[in-house]
Amino acid sequence: MIRFEQVGKRYPNGHVGLHELSFRARRGEFLFVTGHSGAGKSTLLRLLLALERPTSGKLLLADQDIGSISNSEIPFLRRQIGVVFQNHHLLFDRSVFDNVALPLQILGLPREEIEQRVSEALERVSLKDMGEQFPSDLSSGQQQRVGIARAVVHQPALLLADEPTGNLDPRLAAEIMGVFEDINRLGTTVLIASHDLALIARMRHRLLTLQRGRLIGDGEPT
């Protein structure tokens, strides 16, 4: 599913985001990426989303080489990915339903199918009856769940999450992680960038540890 082969990312100002990073993730795998601020977690996610290109090495996502993919192919690559952000990135002038429906509208699915899939996605994150509400009416935890529903509504092959529990209390964080595990059980590869080591330790999934752009650990958390 994901293949990093000696991937490097050097910015024009000389800063090295990633240094010869190599790892693979199978389809349906659940993995965490951790590290201090500046370790390269965000760079890794940005590369997977084709927001940036590697400056060396080879990065394959679903057999597509992100280093050489054309700009016009990028939107179609991103349609295979769901993204969850720490600050949700919801559209506050649209209802919960419309926020979640956005990826499906972009895919050009028929209205009936959109309604059905959005309803299923909201049910999965326990927000079934909140489709008509607006994000500003919801708590931070509920907003995060709307973000998750939007990320999975188009049934992506890969789900990326950047500090998805950063603003949540431990109970809500565990709840959100439970949602990710449910999604993973259905075959979606899940990659979460987080520095919450306690939470990661409880989940007992594969953990990649980055330090200054280098991979210094790959295995189950101890």
């Binding site: 599913m1 389809r27 989303l49 927001l51 679903a62 057999d63 597509q64 016009s72 192919e73 939107p75 179609f76 690559l77 991103r78 349609r79 295979q80 993204v83 990135h89 559209l91 956005l102 990826p103 509208q105 972009i106 895919l107 050009g108 699915l109 028929p110 209205r111 299923e120 999965r124 939007r150 999975v152 188009h154 049934q155 992506p156 092959a157 449910d182 999604i183 259905l186 075959g187 979606t188």
Partner: protein
């Protein structure tokens, strides 16, 4: 989650499996459903654009008004020039050749000359103005009545006023030469200089209108472009999210193109209204002035085909302006 019913394009699969799946998908594709979804998507963009414009009615109206005024200026001038050209044309059709008869030609011989001229195929009409009649008219219209009465003899020759059938300048010149060569004719005068001058002025006016139109079209593109740029800035966050979840540039561009087209249609309608009102208002004075010259000339309104061209052009301008603005700013709106 239900099993994957429809993976987005490019989902991970081995090449043979992928080919097989594509074949299966192609066989089972609901083209009607896809077309409906495509039209639904366009309708949603259209309604969304309209709703956003309606949310700021005053600002949207002002933008349309600025564009409408800019559109109405060259169109209005062009319509006025058309009117003057029509008027000039009718005067040109009334172009006449004055045939001055020698002073020693008697009235009877002069009338015979008039009949000879009237019988020419190129001549529509030939009117006799005797020496006395000419003097009377001169006294009446020149304001020199008393001075002319003091003259010992009538110095004016008799004139045959010839109205030609042809209005072509070369044909008129040929006719004038033939008339000048007739026995008893002193001079045949064709005065088309003023018509030529009017033509030159109209040509200059046409060029001015063209230059003005080009300048204002550029200004309109800038107005639309700037307005759409502000729309884009206001929706920056939304555009970034759309791009993150796989929206293509075309998908992002669509609502802005509709907004530009709506601005164009609004501007076109306002320009049409302004022109109708302005021409009607001006026409009252034009009719009064024309009546003083025994003319029933009047400015027409905006012809329907011109009005429809105006609307189509305005819509196109709005759309192109929006397209240029989005194309310029879209690259700067990559998600961060």
């Amino acid at each position: 989650m239900s099993s994957r019913q429809q993976l987005p394009r490019g989902a991970e699969e081995g090449a043979p499996e992928q080919r097989q799946r594509r074949l299966q998908e192609a066989e089972s594709t609901d083209w009607g459903g896809l077309l409906r979804a495509y039209l639904d998507s366009h309708r949603a963009s259209l309604v969304d654009s309209l709703r956003r414009l309606a949310r700021q009615p005053f600002g949207s109206f002002l933008t349309c008004l600025v564009m409408g005024i800019a559109l109405s200026l060259p169109m209005g001038l062009s319509l006025l020039l058309d009117g003057v050209e029509r008027l000039g044309g009718s005067w040109q059709r009334a172009a006449q050749i004055s045939v001055f008869v020698k002073l020693d030609v008697a009235e009877v011989e002069g009338q015979a000359l008039r009949e000879q001229i009237a019988g020419m195929p190129e001549v529509l009409n030939a009117e006799w103005i005797g020496r006395e009649q000419g003097l009377e008219q001169l006294q009446q219209y020149s304001g020199l009545g008393d001075a002319l009465k003091e003259l010992p003899d009538n110095p004016l020759p008799a004139v045959v006023l010839v109205t030609p059938r042809e209005i072509d300048k070369a044909a008129l010149e040929g006719l004038r030469e033939r008339l000048a060569g007739l026995p008893g004719v002193d001079l045949a005068q064709l005065d088309l200089q003023w018509v030529e001058r009017l033509g030159a002025i109209l040509k200059l006016g046409d060029r001015f209108v063209f230059g003005l139109a080009v300048t204002l079209v550029l200004a309109l593109l800038l107005v639309v472009g700037n307005t759409i740029r502000l729309h884009i800035e206001n929706r920056r966050a939304e555009i970034e999210v759309i791009k993150l979840v796989g929206g293509t540039d075309g998908y992002v561009r669509r609502p802005f193109l509709y907004a530009g087209a709506f601005y164009g249609i609004g501007a076109g309608l306002l320009a049409w209204g302004l022109l109708e009102y302005g021409l009607n208002w001006l026409n009252q004075s034009v009719v009064g002035l024309a009546a003083l010259y025994d003319s029933d000339f009047a400015l027409g309104g905006v012809p329907l085909d011109d009005a429809l061209s105006l609307l189509a052009g305005a819509l196109l301008l709005g759309w192109v302006g929006a397209w240029l603005a989005v194309a310029r700013h879209l690259r700067q709106l990559e998600p961060q």
